[in-house]
């Protein structure tokens, strides 16, 4: 019993020694991301975006050095996220908290930043209501309803589609996209012929696709979480004979992400997606961004996660410049509100009212670019805001 207590005490003492007090002239940023577990991939990509920005812009702003303290939340664990946020504020005395790939973690941490009055930068989590949970949170990624809404509107008004069948995974983000897509589709004059909600941990999609096929729809809207599912359902579409030339398959960007395309192969050709960023985006800034990223990351291409982290850091840097180094939450949030800038994804802004992101949503099609598959942008909607919060205001 004693040896165990000694061991525990020694461990804690060692750690406290490691986290020694820092110079007054540093701005500390606590980053909470899933660095291990099933979402480690996403956490590492956001982190790569953070690293790239700091490499390009140096690690001090306005004479103050920026210090990043990284904490691993391990996956969906709101109790851990809340505790990490508390510890960052209380123990490490951070000035800003950033990161967040997963919605429950972001929501749990919101109550901490609200009480502690610190700026919180959400770099990926995509559920609409997150920014309403605290007056100090700012988002630089996107919301799923933004994307689904835009896609639905495009489909009816420009895509020539009047009927659609929706297939989403039966969990938060899936249900959000389903609701947003269906209401926007109907509002634009289209008809939803049917829908199905698919089990989340689902390896085999053929039954669901057969259901869709039975109704012979003009178009199908799909939402599945990133990972192995996009490729699995893409292949299942091809196997069940759904020809993307005859039936428009529409989805959000996770479905047509680089790794998903690599796995689905030609089965994904012709899929139409709406999203805020693709590495094939044709702008000088993006080309430079992609090259710099490839150099540091073994030739991999950046995606929406990377750019969310990159722009999140941009907001922090610019806000600090505007407040001339003041780090309290109120000043930083006031500086972030209304901030406009050109990002590798295109122009974007932090909405002064909702503190959420306002950006372009691009409509893309999967085509062969050279010898690989990629998303080719062929239409865009500018200055898109989150429709759920806009509706809440009315």
């Amino acid at each position: 019993m004693q040896s165990v207590k000694l061991f525990a005490a020694g461990l804690v003492a060692a750690v406290m020694g490691m986290g020694a007090a820092n110079a007054q002239n540093a701005v500390k940023i606590g980053v909470i991301l899933p660095y291990s577990g099933q979402f480690a991939d996403t956490g590492n990509q956001v982190d790569a975006g953070i690293k790239l920005y700091m490499k390009q812009h140096g690690d001090s702003v306005g004479g103050k050095k920026l210090e990043i303290i990284r904490k691993d939340v391990g996956g969906i664990a709101p109790d851990v996220a809340k505790r990490l946020a508390q510890e960052l504020v209380v123990r490490d005395k951070v000035d800003i908290i950033a990161g967040f790939v997963l919605t429950p973690n972001a929501i749990a941490a919101s109550s901490v930043v609200q009480e502690a009055k610190k700026l919180m930068v959400i770099m990926n989590a995509a559920t609409s209501i997150i920014t309403t949970k605290s007056d100090y949170s700012v988002r630089t990624s996107l919301t799923l309803p933004m994307v689904a809404d835009t896609l639905a509107t495009w489909a009816v008004k420009k895509g020539g589609v009047k009927k659609s069948y929706t297939m989403v995974s039966d969990y938060g983000p899936g249900l959000d996209s389903e609701a947003a897509f269906q209401s926007a589709f109907k509002a634009a004059g289209g008809e939803i012929v049917g829908s199905v909600r698919m089990a989340v941990a689902n390896p085999d999609f053929s039954a669901y696709i057969q259901r869709a096929k039975d109704l012979n729809p003009e178009s199908i809207f799909v939402f599945v979480p990133a990972g192995s599912q996009p490729a699995a359902i893409g292949k299942a579409f091809a196997e069940r004979g759904i020809d993307t030339k005859k039936v428009k398959v529409m989805s959000t960007g996770e479905f047509t992400d680089d790794s998903a395309l690599k796995q689905s192969g030609d089965a994904a050709l012709g899929v139409i997606s709406a999203w805020n960023y693709d590495h094939n985006h044709d702008s000088a800034m993006n080309k430079a961004f992609v090259e710099a990223y490839r150099k540091d990351n073994a030739g991999a291409n950046p995606n929406f996660l990377v750019v969310g982290g990159y722009d999140g850091m941009h907001v922090i840097y610019e806000a600090l410049k505007k407040t001339a180094g003041k780090t309290d939450g109120d000043s930083l949030v006031a500086a972030a509100k209304g901030m406009k800038w050109e990002s590798p994804r295109g122009p974007m802004m932090i909405d002064p009212e909702t503190r959420d992101v306002v950006e372009n949503i691009y409509i893309r099609r999967v085509e062969k670019i050279g010898s690989t598959l990629g998303n080719v942008e062929f239409d865009k909607f500018e200055n898109v805001k989150d429709p759920v919060k806009a509706a809440m205001k009315k």
Partner: protein, 288 residues
């Protein structure tokens, strides 16, 4: 109406066949050695990564990757059996569960370290992708391939058990270990070989599975649940039981999702609980 139903049944059966290849090894070793080897799907994952390496890095054909996946998994299982597993043959269920879960944890970390956390694709020949149309129903080529391979394996296993000397020794050891040892059968050797075979089959299953369900470091956990369900429903130590259970689970899962998607995920758990309550030793199992 025949079209969609036939298609759904075919897909469910094919999915069940994949589960069969993944699970049959565990059923045999559980029934034979009474050892709860939860690391079974980690061997499957190993086979999957071998297939990925062989087809992507070495550029060898897919059909060369399959036997290599089998051999790779079998080899590693022999190593682990010699060093770790044999110490716990007489230990409690719990200890075996924890040892093998520890092995899965380590495998997750090693796979993530070596291959990263993204999905890995395997390079399958073009004629296996796409589908064939027959009598108005579309049959996916890869699923046909899975069914053929699984049936071949089932036949080979049954023939092997019934018509070879080694098979007779395995059956003897499953029925009554002590008597078998008393008759001069080297039970330890039988165990080791059967375990290697079972894990090799898991590796083969993993290599086959990549094209259907993808591959990432958490494969060892994700599919463990399905495999355990098949094994406990089918009955330990029974190839026919595993076959029947795998086909049942596959078809019930797919048919359930087609006819009643709201029940989607519940159905196989309900089926498992129901079957176990009705026949605790599994469909074709023996009382412990």
């Amino acid at each position: 109406m025949f079209g969609p139903v036939a298609g759904v049944l075919f897909d469910g059966f094919a999915y069940g066949m994949l589960l069969f290849v993944l699970s049959v090894g565990l059923s045999v070793t559980l029934g034979l050695m009474n050892f709860v080897n939860l690391a079974h799907c980690a061997f499957a994952m190993l086979g999957g990564y071998v297939a990925v390496l062989v087809t992507n890095e070495l550029g060898w054909p897919f059909f060369a990757a399959l036997p290599l996946a089998f051999i790779g998994a079998a080899a590693v299982s022999v190593l682990l059996e010699r060093t770790l597993y044999r110490r716990l043959y007489r230990a409690s269920d719990l200890d075996q569960v924890l040892l093998t879960i520890g092995i899965v944890f380590v495998s997750v970390a090693v796979a993530a370290y070596l291959f990263g956390t993204t999905q890995q694709p395997v390079d399958v020949p073009a004629y296996l992708r796409g589908s064939i149309s027959f009598a108005g129903v579309r049959f996916a080529s890869y699923r046909l391939f899975l069914i053929v391979v699984a049936l071949l394996i089932a036949v080979m296993l049954v023939l092997g058990l019934e018509h070879t000397r080694f098979g007779a020794q395995v059956r003897a050891a499953v029925d009554n270990q002590r008597m078998a040892a008393g008759l001069g059968i080297n039970v330890e050797l039988v165990f080791a070989v059967a375990f290697a075979l079972g894990s090799g089959l898991a590796g083969l299953g993993g290599a086959l599975a990549v094209e259907v369900v993808g591959l990432d470091p958490y494969f060892g956990f994700t599919y463990l649940i399905f495999v355990l369900i098949v094994v406990s429903v089918g009955g330990l130590g029974s190839i026919a039981g595993t076959f029947a259970a795998a086909a049942l689970i596959g078809i019930v899962d797919i048919a359930g999702k087609y006819y009643a998607p709201e029940l989607g995920a519940f159905l196989i758990y309900l089926v498992m609980v129901a079957v176990l309550m009705w026949r605790p030793a599994g469909l074709i199992g023996r009382r412990q």
